[in-house]
């Protein structure tokens, strides 16, 4: 046991330095001792760019560590969440597992199921300088780091340039512009912004960005992290404006009946002109040959928040089980996967990077564009359901769905949210 520890500690030093080359260099945990690590993750869809990148990274790890057997425990997103919670409730967890920052993992951390990564940062196993600044913000609990980033995303307004050209309108810069072009689209039977609100989470993007426009990144982040009540002017204004957008037909009447997949479908088929959500699908759209214009959500004249802030950040994370029998090896695996996945998935345009990319693959136009948008941003904030604790997130999701269904008033919403504090 001591031998393994000594060797893996030595390995930690070298892993930190050379990040692109891992083959054969530091033979970390292979002192001939066979160990098995379980890896829980959500990358199951072989046709998805992220899965391709994940498997590439994993294969690379396996080749460099022949003495480690990796047992994958994968399921698609929703099934995975149920399974992870069940497994954790039964008192066990995969050695390394995907999770989400903010409210999702609070109970796991509080119960001591997750390994505290501070010591690994200090020893250099985890080199924060090689990651993008502030990328791990959502993975700190009580000021300690508990998770490594998996992907980051940006909330962008994706405009189908072909449709825009057809009706001779331009990408909206202000909210008024958005209302104007929505009228044009509606008059011609095109849905302005595709929205699949049956799944509840897509509708949080417009709400979230409105809060940033009216209140700003700092205010919103503080509120979501537990400070103060929801009865604030910018929250009210955000809700009111969302209701206004729904009434003016910016979203289709049937948004509450459609799943996100169906909304994506709408956009892809050209029946909706815009789509406002994370950058996850942009690569796929481009791959299908769509001509897209990417912009931030319009600014609001006279609003006192951050007009060029974005919904975005890193919410998916890789965590290590505190009860793992091979904790050091598990942390090493997590660092490896976090970094390599970031590199490979970025190269194919599947995600935005979380580690500083030093490879030399050629980036596609839209990636350059996204990079531009990110650099010019005022700040980022994740969607509300990620940062809030599970119960408040659920109330928020239900009420927001109520806004889209024209069944909820601003007062009812504020009251329900404050009741969770």
């Amino acid at each position: 046991m001591a031998a393994v520890l000594a060797v893996s500690l030595a390995a930690c030093g070298s892993t930190g330095e050379s990040k692109t080359e891992s083959k054969g260099e530091e033979n970390t945990s292979d002192v001939g001792e066979q160990i098995e690590l379980t890896l829980g993750h959500i990358y199951v869809d072989a046709s998805n760019g992220q899965t391709v990148a994940w498997e590439k990274a994993l294969n690379e790890y396996k080749e460099a560590h022949p003495n480690v057997t990796i047992k994958e425990d994968k399921a698609d997103n929703d099934a995975y969440k149920t399974k992870l919670k069940t497994t954790l409730a039964a008192g066990s967890a995969p050695d390394v597992f995907c999770s989400w920052g903010g409210g999702f993992s609070t109970s796991f951390v509080d119960a001591g199921m997750v390994e505290n990564l501070d010591s690994y940062v200090e020893s250099g196993v985890i080199n924060m300088d090689e990651m993008l600044p502030n990328i791990c913000n959502n993975f700190y609990y009580d000021d300690s780091l508990y998770g490594l980033p998996l992907d980051s995303f940006l909330g962008v307004l994706v405009c189908n340039q072909e449709v825009f050209d057809e009706y001779e309108v331009e990408a909206p810069e202000t909210l008024e512009d958005l209302y104007e072009i929505s009228d044009v689209f509606n008059a011609n039977g095109i849905v302005p912004i595709a929205m699949g609100e049956k799944d509840k989470w897509p509708g949080l993007f417009p709400f979230g960005i409105l809060a940033l426009r009216y209140g700003g990144v700092d205010e919103t982040t503080a509120l979501l992290n537990g400070e103060g009540k929801f009865d604030q002017e910018y929250v009210r204004k955000s809700a009111e404006t969302l209701i206004e957008m729904v009434d003016k037909g910016v979203f289709s009447d049937s948004s509450v009946a459609l799943t996100n997949d169906e909304a994506l479908n709408e956009f892809q088929q050209g029946r909706a002109a815009m789509y406002y959500s994370g950058t996850w699908q942009v690569g796929d759209f481009i791959g299908e040959g769509m001509n897209l214009t990417l912009v931030n959500f319009p600014s609001i004249e006279g609003a006192s928040g951050d007009q060029n802030a974005y919904i975005g950040g890193a919410s998916a994370t890789l965590m290590v089980s505190a009860k793992s029998e091979n904790v050091e090896a598990a942390v090493e695996l997590a660092v490896f996967m976090s970094q390599k996945f970031s590199d490979y998935a970025y190269e194919t345009g599947a995600i935005l990077p979380t580690w500083i990319y030093e490879g030399d693959a050629e980036l596609q136009d839209f990636q350059v564009r996204l990079g531009e948008l990110m650099e010019g941003a005022d700040g980022f904030c994740l969607a509300w359901n990620t940062l809030l604790d599970a119960e408040a997130a659920s109330v928020h999701e239900n009420c927001t769905q109520g806004f889209y269904a024209k069944q909820m008033t601003v007062d009812e919403y504020i009251k329900a949210m404050d009741a969770t504090r």
């Binding site: 969440k81 149920t82 919670k85 069940t86 954790l88 409730a89 109970s107 796991f108 509080d110 119960a111 001591g112 199921m113 049956k198 509840k200 009447d253 049937s254 948004s255 509450v256 009946a257 459609l258 799943t259 169906e262 709408e266 029946r271 599970a390 119960e391 997130a393 659920s394 239900n398 769905q401 109520g402 269904a405 069944q407 909820m408």
Partner: protein, 293 residues
């Protein structure tokens, strides 16, 4: 004879494996659930004991009350629409009509589909833009009736009920069909001599003789609807805005989404108690004497 039928060892052999397997699982499930229902527990780590508080909260929760009403509406409508239909079909099919086998198979096909399939299929049927329902209404000139079926708080629940009935009519039809088929022919023969045929035979002979099975079907429909989950989860997930919530979907949500294991377990116990009481009441109310023929 009594010793023959009362052979203790034989009884043990016949019943113990099943009882052990089933009882064991039942005990574990209900036992754990009752225990959890007394806790405020996020599912991870330790929970805090809060006694019956979950139950009080649950009974006062407006959305939970609505979910109970929804499940009862589901049960009543399904019972009233599905069972008579299934009975009618079973009667016709056993009356010697042509194509009996084919019809029987066709009616049963929806039952063989998994709920995921049924849910996905009906989601597409109800799709406001490409679904069969709206397309059909449009081509029949009834465009004004087209709706945002699953997204409208007023129609969503009825859409779920319709899909549920569609899937399970064949199930009950088959049960009743098998019951009718096992009635010996001679009874009908002697009845025919007395002049009773057709509808009269059905009303006076068939129905009373299959009353046990009818009762079984009724109990299945009601308990099945009270604890229904799968179809609702796939079709609407309790939405829009809680319009189609049922106790099971709330339980699932409590446990797996908002991490309140204790609260969710209290709901589970509620469902179990509700079903046991109603099943028991139904059994007592519709007394069927053992028919000797």
């Amino acid at each position: 004879m009594n010793r023959f039928m009362g052979n203790k060892k034989a009884i043990a052999v016949f019943i113990l494996p099943s009882l052990f397997l089933f009882g064991g699982l039942l005990l574990v499930s209900i036992g754990f659930s009752v225990y959890y229902s007394t806790l405020e527990w996020s599912g991870i780590g330790e929970g805090t004991f809060i006694g019956a508080q979950n139950y009080f909260e649950m009974l006062q929760d407006v959305i939970f009350q609505k979910s109970v009403k929804n499940s009862m509406l589901l049960a009543v409508l399904t019972l009233l629409l599905q069972l008579p239909f299934a009975l009618f079909l079973a009667l016709i099919l056993t009356s010697g009509i042509k194509g009996e086998g084919i019809f029987r198979t066709i009616y049963f096909i929806p039952v063989t589909l998994s709920t995921v399939v049924v849910g996905q299929l009906w989601m597409k049927i109800y799709n406001p833009n490409y679904g069969v329902l709206n397309s059909f209404l449009q081509s029949a000139g009834l465009e004004s009736l087209t709706h945002n079926w699953l997204g409208d708080v007023d129609t969503a629940l009825y859409c779920v009920i319709a899909a549920n009935i569609w899937q399970y009519i064949g199930y009950h039809m088959l049960l009743l069909y098998a019951a009718i088929k096992s009635i010996p022919q001679d009874i009908y023969e002697s009845a025919q001599i007395d002049g009773a045929t057709g509808v009269k035979a059905a009303m006076r002979i068939t129905i009373p003789l299959i009353l046990p099975t009818l009762k079984t079907c009724a109990i299945f429909v009601i308990t099945g609807c009270l604890k229904a989950f799968d179809l609702i989860y796939v079709l609407t997930n309790g939405g829009p805005v809680n319009a189609t919530e049922v106790p099971s979907s709330m339980m699932f949500n409590s446990i797996f989404v908002i991490n309140r294991y204790g609260y969710g377990s209290a709901m589970a116990i509620f469902i179990v108690a509700e079903c046991v009481i109603i099943a028991f009441a139904l059994q007592k109310m519709i007394r069927t004497r053992q028919v000797e023929y």
